[in-house]
């Protein structure tokens, strides 16, 4: 019993002493990383509640061990500073769909995203992404102030129009806001994450 308590104290001390305080540094947001707007945060919430994370990552891995950079997912690997505004994290573990860390750079067109959410196969025939028609409203006629989505005839409802809900607009605003193409800030804390 005594031995156990003693060992605990020694172990804890060693850990605390050999951990230099310089290691316990802080990460600051890079100047080019924008704080998300209210709409983008709502979009992020839609992203979470519909489980986009189960098929899409939001991280670009080290160029030396993967093809992430060479296949155009970003111009550099992601670093902790890119995620300072993220709570919870959405790093993800599956790439059933492509990485979205820089989707705002690759695909900046909101209309493309809206139609792609309504019916992915209208734009990408081989896609296995689920459609999200419930993020849109089917109305017989567009009312005043409604934003109508143009859908190709093959995928459009037989009658009426497809109206964009605020949720769909928010999700697209979030997606197009995902741009991390600024250079890595030049501070020791950032460099440390580089191998």
């Amino acid at each position: 019993m005594l031995m156990g308590a003693l060992a605990t104290v020694i172990f804890a001390l060693v850990i605390l002493v050999i951990l230099p305080s310089s290691l316990l540094s802080h990460v600051e947001a890079p100047p080019q990383l924008k704080r998300p707007s209210q709409q983008e945060l709502l979009g992020r919430q839609i992203y979470i509640s519909n489980g986009c994370i189960y098929c899409h990552t939001q991280q670009v891995r080290d160029a030396e061990i993967t093809a992430d950079v060479s296949s155009g997912l970003g111009n550099r690997a992601s670093v902790p500073a890119d995620y300072v505004y993220d709570a919870p994290n959405l790093l993800g573990t599956m790439r059933t769909g492509p990485d979205l860390f820089n989707v705002g750079v690759r695909l900046p067109d909101s209309n493309w995203h809206l139609l792609h959410l309504y019916q992915p196969r209208a734009l990408v025939p081989w896609s296995i992404m689920p459609a999200f028609p419930f993020l849109f409203e089917h109305k017989p006629k567009a009312e005043k102030g409604d934003k109508v989505l143009k859908v190709p005839a093959a995928y459009a409802p037989k009658q009426g129009v497809v109206v964009i809900t605020p949720e769909a607009a928010a999700l697209v605003a979030y997606l197009t806001s995902l741009r991390h193409d600024y250079p890595i800030p030049d501070s020791p804390a950032f460099k440390e994450s580089q191998p």
Binding site: G4, A7, T8, A12, L23, L24, H26
Partner: protein, 82 residues
């Protein structure tokens, strides 16, 4: 916030240290001394003497030598199933 997470280091210690303490306590209480009898403690009396239909002659001889003459399991467990 990051680079080195205080939270994570704390968590690892919280998970890792108590077992270390327990290990010393168990050692000093003699928990790790008599492995043989601990290993046999799960068996009911006579249970090791029950003849088991899958055993080879050699394995049955071993069983007789170690635990005494073979008996039939009163609950007929091997004829049904477990």
């Amino acid at each position: 916030m990051f680079a080195n997470s205080v939270v994570l280091i704390t968590l690892t210690l919280v998970i890792g240290l108590p077992p270390l303490v327990c290990l010393f306590m168990a050692l000093s209480a003699g928990q790790l001394d008599d492995g043989g009898s601990s290993a046999e403690s799960i068996f009911e009396e006579q249970e090791l003497r029950y003849s088991r239909p899958w055993e080879t002659r050699r394995q049955m001889q071993d069983r007789v030598q170690q635990h005494g003459n073979l008996m039939n399991n009163p609950r007929a467990e091997w004829e049904r199933w477990l």
